[in-house]
Amino acid sequence: MTTTVENPRVVPARPASWFFSRSARQYSHALTFLLIAPLMLLLAGGFIYPIGRLVSLSLMAPGFTLEHYERIVTEPLYMEVLFRTLQTGAIVTVTSLLLGFPVSFLMAHAKGRMAMLVSAAVLVPLWTSVLVRSYAWIVLLQRNGIVNGLLIESGLIGSPLKLIYTEGAVILAMTHVLMPFMILPVYNVLRTIPAEYTQAARNLGAGPISAFWRVTLPLSLPGIFAGCVMCFILAIGFYITPALVGGPGALMMATLIGQQTTVLLDWPFAAALATVLLTTTLIFVLVFRKALSVSKGMNSVN
């Protein structure tokens, strides 16, 4: 009886010191601090300081000013870009949900080789560099690309369509990149719903559609919500894909920031735009942080 491992009187074989706390389950503050110090140093110098510098630059001209923000608000072009970014984010999120939900459903219910096949189809694009995927979309959609070639050969169209460098191409390519971020959280929730719930609904007389609509769907809402928040915040910060497959007419916040820094070299204004994008993202994360905790693990996509 007295020799259970968890008995606190048995545990401290050695006296507690400043470095090793009395409880072996929980480390002392000194040891913890030492363990975390390299991370704090890295984040302070390599993350917080650069972003702090960026934000402070947006408020300088060279003295304190809000003129860069005034410019964003007063010039219709920039508000238009901000609006388009949020709109594109919303469209991509909804499209990812509509296309992704059936895949999550199949992933949660399939067995054996089928399950492996579906998971592979979801994970392979997730592990493919966004550059590879952007390249593939250009090859498919360009003027003399594969899609136009197939359409002309089949006689559906006479001359090539303009498919690439359009808003449609951006939405298509971004949906492709973000779909796994919708599918995985929804799948994680769907597979925890016991099959008996649907069976019970069916036994009580519900049709398959009604059982899905009134049992499965409501229970999967946390996953849907998490996936939507994740897709949206990743979508509004996207750079590579819109820069490569989007046209000059379809600027998004990220591509506008890129243009201001690499072409126009207007750093304070770019910093103000970046601060607006950062603030928008952080607001969404803070408001929906509960939803996000459902889906752990994001991948580098943007």
Partner: protein, 283 residues
Amino acid sequence: MSIEPAVTASFAPSPVNSTHRPYGKAALRLLGGFLIGEILFFLVLPTLLVIPISLNDSSYIEFPPKGLTLRWYIDFLSDPDWRAATIFSLQIALATTVASTVIGTLAAIGLVRGNLPGKTLLRALSLGPMIVPHVVFGVALYLVFSPLSLTGNFAGFLIAHTVLAVPYVIITVSAALERFDTSLELAALNCGASRSRAFISVVLPNIAPAVAAASVFAFLASFDEATVAFFISDTGGKTISRKMFEDIDFNLTPVIAAVSTLLVAVSLLLMGTIHLLTGRGED
């Protein structure tokens, strides 16, 4: 491609009560299977497409390829620019792997087993690099790195990519530490092991698969990273991602398809390794 028929054939969520209208149902199921097959095809198409294009024996993009060649791979290997970018990327990715695995693992241990005040804040902060849009981080780094001539520089990339990779390590290792039963460690202490001895012989072997998986994530987070690399590269030093971006933007040659195929192969190989290491996939 070959996935479609398989999907259509076996999409069958077990029916509970299949006496009503069997024909309508079968048709519906077939239609549903077909639609999902299309979606899965859409998901894998861009990844698989680069393989035939990289083997196509013509500077024009033809599909299906008319003749096969390894010319684009040879072009890739013999081009000094591509070679330099590949070596630079590999060096950065390997150094990032070591730095972020060490820093992230230590921090995960501290965050899970310690109880510092402000722990929640620190945990949230450590995930910050995942949340902040990469374009914002890239521009911010350029701003700070440029006067220090850290752009296009190994040390600059190492800092940038370690910041980006460390959250993956913290998440993966923390999860393993939370699953670890601390009674095992207490048992070792009871048997006379010192604190450090118990850690090395009991805790470490238990979290080792997760640390290994985390290091693979870190490698890929650096090797495939494109946005920050776009901003902090310069003519003196660019990663394979930045080189690809430039080539896609300016001269669309099949060499890009060859590089893409190699990148996909590296990613799939490494992620396959994670499956073997941890026995589970997606996170």
